[in-house]
């Protein structure tokens, strides 16, 4: 029935963080009556507390809106939300691939940012029809004309028809819905062809198993279909199909053009990988949809429970998080200093922070995090190539021929007056200049190659602070490069603390080694005995500081009326000390293990 798909529109929203995507999505849901005002309170697209606090979408979602257009027809609009952060670029690309159109939402004050631009390119690669929306026009400082100009110059879109909107006050909402109906193409696709469903997200449900969020590209699927994952070859029997209304509602079948979910009692989200194609095992498509890529973690760190008795609980918690997030990888790791923990891999720094915060908040774990590392490729004398994601596993220097580190292609959008600042920063960060373009009279797009380890270190903070927050960044992994790298180890009281080791470019090693011991001296509290802190490369000490012994730590007065209070004070201090990690005789605060990240170069 080609007729039905004529009334379907699949679209997503592209926007920079804070440009109002979530508010706009809420407004569209409200306008079309998918949820009442009261329900809106509880149900918005950003459903995790963390997402609401940070104002970003981490886990994407989808919602089906029923809209009666001015032409009198009722349309099924599927809004697929996308996460707004560089860590999740691949997920964004799959969501976009599930759509025929996208709203390009640009803040009327701030204009286009690098992240928006990156997602626009992704949308154009997927042949999406773009509808420009200039949001927040209710703000006194709104400059819609300037932003229109930017859209034309930077993206090359005709912005004369851009919709002026305010998601906050409701201006332009109807116009947006109308434009979706009139300009976003109805999905093509033969519902009699063999099934091809694109997975753009997945979620674990305790009763239904791993649920695939899909866009049916061709064919149809219903309860009882024997489905096959084309990337992994695994076969499951479909138990339920449905749509997001926005709550999951079971339907008879999903057909070409539709967006919905498929449940098949799948035990593990690993089997519902984003980007994979679901087909009918008995009437298989000849080839999968393009663009599938296995989620690959780029950033690694060690996560350890402060209290070693929490180890099993921590493993359970990681497993639970993994149920919903196949891109989180973890395996047991042992540190001499920190005991038993896990080496965890993340899509990026934000992903890492989110997982840490969720473990601490939702699972009430007290964690020590080691400084993040990238994956180095080490060529040994034996002719092997070893991947190292934990600096303390680097083989002895004598056995290394060379080390390669990952590099990214970074796109930076910045007001023209900061070009010099950015170039200086990129030079410090060992960047290689590629190109520079004026995207408008006042804004410049710079493309550099940068080592991923520098981005992981403090690049983003530096970028923001040196440009008063005006610069924006997007990057993608572009390959590996041989570099002159060394490992710095840290000794506390003469004992090596493996969790503090890090790998760094030789030219920066002395400076960083010195800064780190200085930083540690500030972080490690004075204790009963003097504590020497040394940073070493191999056997060579490159810097030393000393935490002098504590001189005063005493209850000076303690009589009958004070005893309970003083005992409780000691109990409290003891709890405080327990939050630190005891390495030999030295108590080390949790944040010491991230100290290497907090150094100003």
């Amino acid at each position: 029935m080609a007729q039905a798909s004529q009334h379907i529109r699949n679209f997503s929203i592209i926007a920079h963080i804070d440009h109002g995507k979530s508010t706009l999505a809420d407004r569209l849901i409200e306008y079309t009556g998918a949820l009442s005002k009261r329900e809106m309170e509880a149900q918005v697209l950003d459903s995790m507390d963390l997402e609401r606090e940070r104002g970003i979408t981490i886990k994407l979602q989808a919602v089906q809106l029923s809209y009666k257009a001015k032409d009198g027809e009722v349309y099924e609009l599927n809004l697929i939300d996308t996460p707004g952060h560089v860590d999740f670029t691949y997920e964004v690309s799959r969501s976009l691939a599930a759509c025929e159109g996208a709203l390009l939402v640009v803040d009327a004050v701030q204009g286009i940012e690098a992240q928006t631009l990156a997602n626009v390119y992704l949308a154009l690669e997927n042949d999406l029809e773009l509808i420009s929306v200039i949001n927040k026009i209710d703000l006194p400082s709104a400059e819609p004309e300037r932003v229109k100009e930017e859209i034309e110059e930077v993206i090359g879109l005709d912005a004369s028809e851009a919709i002026l909107a305010s998601a906050k006050t409701g201006i332009g909402i109807e116009e947006i819905l109308e434009r979706v109906v009139t300009t976003v193409p109805a999905p093509q696709g033969d519902d009699e062809a063999p099934l091809k469903a694109l997975i753009f997200d997945s979620k674990f449900d305790a009763y239904k198993g791993a649920i695939s969020y899909v866009r049916i590209v061709e064919g149809r699927v219903a309860k009882g279909t024997t489905m096959k994952m084309m990337a992994t070859g695994k076969v499951f029997e479909v138990t339920e199909v449905g749509v997001f209304a926005p709550a999951m509602r079971i339907v008879e079948e999903l057909k070409a053009g539709q967006v919905g979910f498929i449940a098949a009692s799948i035990k593990n989200v690993k089997d519902t990988q984003v980007g994979d194609t679901i087909t009918d095992a008995e009437n298989s498509a000849d080839k999968p949809l393009p663009g599938y890529r296995k989620a690959t973690p780029m950033v690694f760190c060690g996560l350890y429970p402060v209290d070693s008795s929490d180890y099993n609980r921590m493993r359970d918690s990681l497993e639970k998080l993994h149920l919903n997030d196949a891109s989180l990888v973890f395996e047991p790791e042992t540190s001499v200093a920190l005991g038993f923990g896990f080496r965890c891999g993340f899509l990026g720094l934000l992903h890492m922070e989110i997982i840490q915060e969720r473990l601490e908040r939702e699972y009430d774990l007290n964690l020590i995090t080691t400084a993040p590392s990238v994956i180095y490729k080490v060529h040994t004398l034996k002719g092997e190539v070893i991947s190292i994601d934990n600096p303390s596993n680097l083989p002895p220097i004598e056995s290394i021929v060379s080390i390669e580190e990952p590099v990214v292609k970074a796109t930076i959008l910045v007001p023209a007056e900061y070009v010099g600042t950015i170039m200086e920063l990129n030079q410090e960060k060992r960047g290689t200049y590629f190109t520079m373009d004026y995207v408008s009279k006042s804004r410049v797009k710079l493309i550099y190659e940068l080592p991923l380890s520098e981005i992981v270190f403090d690049y983003f903070d530096q970028l923001k602070s040196r440009t008063k927050g005006y610069a924006s960044l997007d990057y993608e992994l572009s390959g590996y490069k041989e570099t002159d790298l060394v490992k710095i180890d840290v000794l506390l009281n003469g004992e090596m603390v493996d969790a503090l080791s890090f790998i760094i470019h030789r030219a920066k090693s002395y400076h960083r080694g010195r800064k780190l011991v200085e930083k540690l001296r500030g972080i490690i509290p004075r204790q009963m005995f003097e504590i020497p802190i040394q940073s070493v490369i191999g056997n060579k000490v490159i810097a030393r500081e000393t935490v002098s012994a504590m001189r005063k730590d005493v209850l000076s007065k303690c009589y009958g009326g004070d005893i309970s209070r003083k005992r409780k004070l000691l109990e409290k201090q003891k709890v405080g000390k327990k939050r630190m990690k005891q390495v030999g005789n030295v108590a080390i605060p949790q944040d010491a293990f991230m100290a290497v990240l907090k150094i100003d170069d």
């Binding site: 204790q527 009963m528 001189r551 009326g561």
Partner: protein, 387 residues
Amino acid sequence: MPSLYIHVPFCVKKCDYCAFYSHSLLHSPKDLTSVYLDGLEVEMAKRGKDAPLGVSSLFIGGGTPTALNNRDLDRFMTMLHRHFQLNPGVERTMEGNPGTITSSKLEILRRYGINRFSLGVQSFEDRLLSAVGRLHSAKEAREAIGRLRTAGFENINLDLMFGLPGQDMANWQATIEEALSYSPEHLSLYGLMLEEGTPLYERYKEGSDEKINGIETVLPNDDLQAEMHDWAVERLKQVGYRNYETSNFARPGFECQHNLGYWRGQDYLGLGPGGVSCLNRVRWKNIEEVHAYQSRLRDGQDPVEEAGEEVLSLHECMAERMILGLRLEEGVNIISFKDDFGADLRNIYRKVLESYRDKEVFMVQGDYLRLNPKFSFVANGILQEFV
């Protein structure tokens, strides 16, 4: 036999660092001391039976007990003698501050058998006294010491403070030397503590570079405080004082028996608003507010704070015995520990004692477990192991 403490919650004016419960008499209605004494009289009558054989020592503290006027003092002492048996030879201390000590008050105290006086001198430098809001001058302290001796007190303690805003090593040494010139039998040296809720805490929580009335009043840091303490320990030892407890020094035979009772884990009664008692592992605290204290007692109720009663577990009792006993030069008595708790502390705390073995933190001498005096000023980290 418990010891007896009586709290007198009045001062002429509170000092800026003080977190104890006390009314400023400058800002209180005239009859407040009578309300207090009315309540106290009832409490004494009730509590006297807790010490049928008398009390092992008496300490009247505050506040500033000598802030009471002659009539009130006389009534206080009469009540006390009516309800408690004070055996001969028992140490009976009263605390007081310079500026409130008149010969006639001292005469009353002597008449009622007060045989030890603890004087809050804190410093012999006016600038430092006013920096922490003390009302009296160094001159008044000197006069008070003279009057105490004249009145016949042969056991005097002077409280001195180090770490005062604007104090340096030379100031501190001068204060110690002057104190020694009066040959006190006992000295208490306290490091200034910033307690939350006090004016001094408010003044310094943001940093320590405040100028008051144009005078530099930097707070000495922990290292300087430690040096002040260490210097005083050495100096006082030279002239024959024993550092018998973390903050206390005495000529042999003049150790404060009342306070030794606390540190050795003996029972005590604490009367008056805010007074704390501990009998048979139950500890309770009286309400602080004077009117509420008095009205409860008048109505025949216990004047105990809501949730002010605490039944100590065996673990808590043992922990307290350790953290208090290790403050003493003599240490914790292993035999009495065993008598009281039925176990050898060397077994119970074996792990802790062993973990500090190479640093020689603990020493066993005779029947006592002691803390190496080297660590007495950094003892908290060690004492934590026992709680």
